[in-house]
Amino acid sequence: MYTEKVMDHFTNPRNVGELPDADAVGEVGNMKCGDIMKLYLKISDDGVIEDVKFKTFGCGAAIATSSMSTELIKGKTVEECLKLTNKAIAEALDGLPPVKMHCSVLAEEALKAALLDYKNKTGKDIDISEEDLKGDDHDHHEDCDHED
């Protein structure tokens, strides 16, 4: 059911851990399944993600998307990170089963939470607000009805 890439990132997750001197931290929970992701970012003065670490309590898809998202944002600018969607993360993993799409929301939201934290801490002009964190919760009911 999972692609090879998903299994690879699940088995050998990249960037697991914490950053004690993180510039931003985002923690989100997936209401539906009680899963949690915590994301740590180290951001340079000119807004480039220099280092990233995560910890996730969740299913295989949650762990794999967490891992993949850290790879995708490392070295990117804050602006570029704002554009990262859960769909893009899932695509980078060669796709997720329909029932598991919502798990990738966890990674997108953790990133947004971290960037919001960064904005609040630094007062920088970043195009993000609490509103963006309300959660794409409706995605969770995208079930396995293959009628498309």
Partner: protein
């Protein structure tokens, strides 16, 4: 790589003896049991012999045995078939069931609610037990059906069916039990249990998938779900799955003969598995009743871990287990069984069902305990929740 299959609660591999019997039928019985000619009569004879065998094993009469297409179908005929008929007869629309039933029962009861039936879902205690007292309290004059499973498929808790059966004596409500998980593991006798209807599935006892039995006590009537030929007393029209039925009878016979010895063997292995896991891995807990449980079932919660990632990690070590969480089967909700037992969302999500079987050895248990220790530790180290807990 070593392969350890600890998911016998989901399905079992076929036994060689069962395959052999079925192949014999596939090769030698060309007829349709409803045909008048010799090919048909021969098939009919084989079919009726299987019916006699199955009947004898559960203490029933042959004509009380209906062969169906699955355990799910047996449950559905029992529940929909009884409820719709009784309602038409004006006997009432109240049904009693438990909150830990398999979806084949619980979803069917929920469907009946949409049809206007009134369903009481009895609570269970922390061990997953339904109390006889609660059945008594829920019972009404217009109760037409009580359906409570014999043993739970997730946590293994065995319900007091015989006691409920006694309680229901004298009440017109029909009593059904889903014995899909107990046949072949515990003695199952319809008279001792005092049930009117009982469901069995072949693939849980080393028989073929797609064959079930519904025991219907003499005198009980059910509406059928399908219409067509006169097979299985019109309750289950369709040309009979002869080889599958023979395979089911054979599987039940073998299981019955070996029941005592094999159950004891499994229980010893299972008890060691539970003991070693609880002793060597911190923050773990056994789910289900400590003693009133299926001999081959261990269901354990590992705090701060999500079930699917545990399953996948074990899978990469060749260990097949399943999760209380039904994430993968379309729903993302945690197990309704564990929730009914009072577990938190998080604990329910971190639960693992390990169900042993004929192939399970002492070495398997050693291997699983060792691998689980490593995997749990790795996942906990990745978990932000474990982290926070550690820091408290």
């Amino acid at each position: 790589m070593k392969k350890v299959y600890l998911d016998h609660g989901a399905t079992t591999p076929m036994r060689a003896e069962v395959i052999d019997e079925m192949v014999k039928i596939y090769r030698e019985e060309a007829g349709n049991p409803s045909s008048v000619h010799q090919f048909g009569r021969s098939a009919r004879k084989v079919l009726e012999e299987a019916r006699m065998k199955v009947a004898e094993i559960i203490g029933a009469e042959p004509k009380e045995i209906i062969f169906t297409g699955s355990g799910t179908e047996s449950d559905n005929i029992a529940i929909l078939g009884t409820a719709r008929l009784k309602a038409k007869q004006g006997k009432g629309k109240h049904i009693i069931t438990s909150s830990v039933e398999h979806h084949a029962v619980s979803d069917t009861c929920k469907m009946l609610m949409k049809e206007g039936f009134d369903v009481t879902f009895l609570p269970v205690d922390a061990d997953g037990l339904v109390s006889v007292e609660s059945v008594k309290q829920a019972l009404r004059e217009d109760t037409i059906l009580v359906t409570i499973m014999h043993a739970n498929n997730e946590v293994g808790t065995v319900q007091p069916i015989a006691e409920i059966g006694s309680l229901l004596k004298g009440h017109p409500a029909v009593f059904h039990t889903d014995a899909v998980q107990t046949v072949g593991k515990l003695p199952v006798n319809v008279n001792e249990l005092g049930v009117d209807l009982l469901s069995i599935s072949a693939h849980k006892i080393y028989g073929p998938k797609g064959v079930g039995v519904l025991y219907i006590k003499k005198g009980q009537r059910v509406e059928s779900l399908m219409y067509g030929g006169g097979q299985e007393r019109k309750i289950r029209p369709s040309t009979e799955n002869l080889a599958g039925i023979i395979g089911m009878a054979k599987a039940m016979e073998l299981a019955k003969n070996e029941l005592e010895a094999e159950s004891t063997r499994l229980q010893v292995l299972r008890d060691r598995l539970i003991k070693e896991l609880l002793e060597t891995i911190p923050e773990t807990k056994l789910n289900g009743h400590p003693t009133k449980r299926l001999p081959h079932n261990a269901n354990i919660s590992f705090e701060y871990i999500e079930g699917e990632s545990l399953i996948l990690s074990l899978d990469m070590k060749g260990i097949a287990v399943s999760s209380g969480s039904a994430c993968t089967s379309g729903s993302l909700d945690p197990s309704h069984v564990l929730m009914a037992m009072g577990l938190t969302h998080q604990t329910a999500h971190g639960s693992l069902r390990m169900t042993l079987g004929k192939s399970t050895t002492d070495e398997d248990i050693d291997y699983v305990v060792a691998e689980l220790k490593t995997v749990v530790q790795r996942l906990r180290e990745m978990s932000p929740v474990w982290d926070q807990r550690a820091k408290v």
